[in-house]
Symmetry: C2
Subunit: 267 residues, 2 copies
C-alpha cells in the first residue's frame, strides 16, 4: 500500500504545486506536473513518470493506476485540492520528466523521410489552449516535430497539457528561441518553410505545393500580431487561408489545424 500524504504543507506537495505554477521552475527541474485520470497514464507512454499522487477514491475507480511506474502516494482529498488546477479535480496527479528532443530529431526526420517530413513551428502563440490544440493536431496529422519560439505558451503548463491531451508526449516538441533563426536552420536542411500570412501570400489550396527534399514546415504566428516580418522574410513563401468577408479571422487553433490538415504527413 502506498504511503498516504495528509498535510498540504508536505514538501513533495509544495514542489509539485511549484512545477504547475512556474515555467522557470519546470525548466530548472526539467519536470512538470500533470493532472487527470486519462491524461497521466497517456503522458506516461512518452515521458518518464517520477511520482504519482492519487486519492483513495480515484484509485478505487481506476485500480490500474497502481501498475504505473514511479513513486506512488495516496493523498487525502484536501491535499488533492491543493494540487488541483481545475475545479473538478479527478484526484490523479503526476510529476514527469520533460522530454528534451534536440535539433537532431528534426534533422533525422528530415533526412530519412525523403521530402515526407512535416514540421509545425509556432511564433509567440501565447494562448495555452491554442498551443495545446496545435500540438494535438500536429500529432494527429502525422507531423514529425513541433518547434516553439520564445514567447509561446509553455507546452508543459497545466492548461496546455489539458488542451493537448497528452500529445506532447507523442510528438517531439522543441523550444527553439528565435523563430527566424530556426527557419533558416530548417531551410539549410532542405525544408520548404511556409509562413501563414495574410499579405503577399498565395491562397491555400489554389495550387499544389511541392515540399523540399527535407520536407515541409508550416509557421504560424501569434493570435493578435501574426508572424514577425523577420520570420516571414526568412520563410520560403507565404500562404493564407481564403475566407469570406463575413469574418475578420479564424480561431488560431483552427486556422493552424486547417494548414496542418492541408499539408498532412503520412499517418
Amino acid at each position: 500500500m502506498a504511503e498516504c500524504i495528509t498535510s498540504r504543507d508536505n514538501a513533495k506537495i509544495k514542489y509539485a504545486c511549484k512545477l504547475a505554477q512556474s515555467a522557470a521552475f519546470r525548466n530548472q527541474e526539467k519536470s512538470f506536473l500533470a493532472e487527470g485520470l486519462k491524461l497521466c497514464p497517456e503522458l506516461a507512454k512518452g515521458c518518464p513518470l517520477k511520482v504519482i499522487y492519487y486519492t483513495e477514491r480515484a484509485l478505487a475507480k481506476s485500480p490500474e493506476l497502481e501498475s504505473l511506474p514511479g513513486e506512488h502516494y495516496l493523498v487525502q482529498p484536501h491535499v488533492a485540492e491543493k494540487l488541483a488546477q481545475v475545479d473538478s479535480s479527478q484526484g490523479v496527479f503526476a510529476v514527469f520528466g520533460m522530454p528534451e528532443p534536440g535539433w537532431e530529431t528534426v534533422a533525422s526526420a528530415s533526412a530519412q523521410k525523403q521530402g515526407g517530413a512535416r514540421f509545425l513551428a509556432l511564433e509567440r502563440v501565447q494562448d495555452p489552449g491554442n498551443v495545446g490544440t496545435l500540438i494535438r493536431s500536429a500529432a494527429a496529422f502525422g507531423f514529425d516535430a513541433v518547434l516553439l519560439s520564445d514567447g509561446c505558451a509553455s507546452p508543459w503548463s497545466p492548461k496546455t497539457l489539458r488542451s493537448s491531451m497528452g500529445a506532447a508526449a507523442r510528438i517531439p516538441v522543441l523550444e527553439v528561441g528565435s523563430m527566424a533563426q530556426a527557419v533558416q536552420k530548417l531551410r539549410d536542411l532542405g525544408v520548404l518553410v511556409l509562413a501563414a500570412a495574410l499579405y503577399n501570400s498565395v491562397e491555400l489550396g489554389a495550387q499544389p505545393v511541392q515540399p523540399g527534399p527535407g520536407g515541409l514546415c508550416t509557421v504560424i504566428g501569434s493570435e493578435g500580431q501574426g508572424l514577425s516580418e523577420e520570420t516571414v522574410r526568412a520563410c520560403s513563401k507565404a500562404v493564407r487561408i481564403p475566407m469570406s468577408d463575413r469574418v475578420e479571422s479564424l480561431n488560431a487553433g483552427v486556422a493552424g489545424s486547417v494548414l496542418l490538415w492541408q499539408f498532412r504527413g503520412e499517418c
Copy 2:
C-alpha cells in the same frame, strides 16, 4: 447626452443580466445580451440593436459607439461590473433582437446555388466554445447556414458569442430540434448529407465528394459521444478524418473546421 444608470438594481440592468444567464428567458424575449467593444458593433451589422450600455471610459476610448442605433445609456463602473460576464470587462454591453431564420433560408440557398449550397449541422455539441468556433469557421468558409439540434450550446449565450466573434449575425443559425428529422428535410431538398463518424465511414480526402443538386451538409456530433445512430442512419454517407495513432481524437472545433474547409463553399 445619454441618461446615466447609477444603480445595480435598475430594472433594465436586471433584465439584461437575466438575458445573459437564461436561455429560456432569451427565447421568451427573442433577445440576447452581448459584451465587448468590438463584438457589439460587429453584431449590430446583422442583428437589431435594441439597447446599448457603456461606461464613460469606454465612450471616451470609442466615441463611434454613439453612432450605433437603439436606446443608449451610460452606466457607472459598478453597474458595468454587474453586467460583465468576464473579469476584464470592456464596459460595452448591448441587447439585440435574435435573428430567427427559418427553413425557407435553407431551402432558398439550396435551390438557388445549383449544388453549391453548403450547410453545417451540429448535434448535441455542448461546449459553447466549440459551437462558437464552428459558427465562425462556417461563416469564414462560405457556408449558407448552421443548423443546431436540441442539446447544443445556445448560440446566443455570452460564451458562445465570444468564441463566434459575432459570426452568428453574419450567417443564418437555425435551432431545428431533432437532427435526424432535419437531416431528412435536407435530403428532401436534394442535399448530400455527410455524417462525421469514426466507423463505417470513408476517409476524408481519399476520394472526391460530389454534392447533391441541393448542395452539401456536414453533420457533427457531440464531443464525447459523436452522432446518434439515428442521425448517422438518416445521412447520405459518413466520413472520418484520417489520424495517426498518436492521438485518440481531435479537438471538436478543429475536427469540424477541417471538414468545413474540405467542403468549403464559394467565398
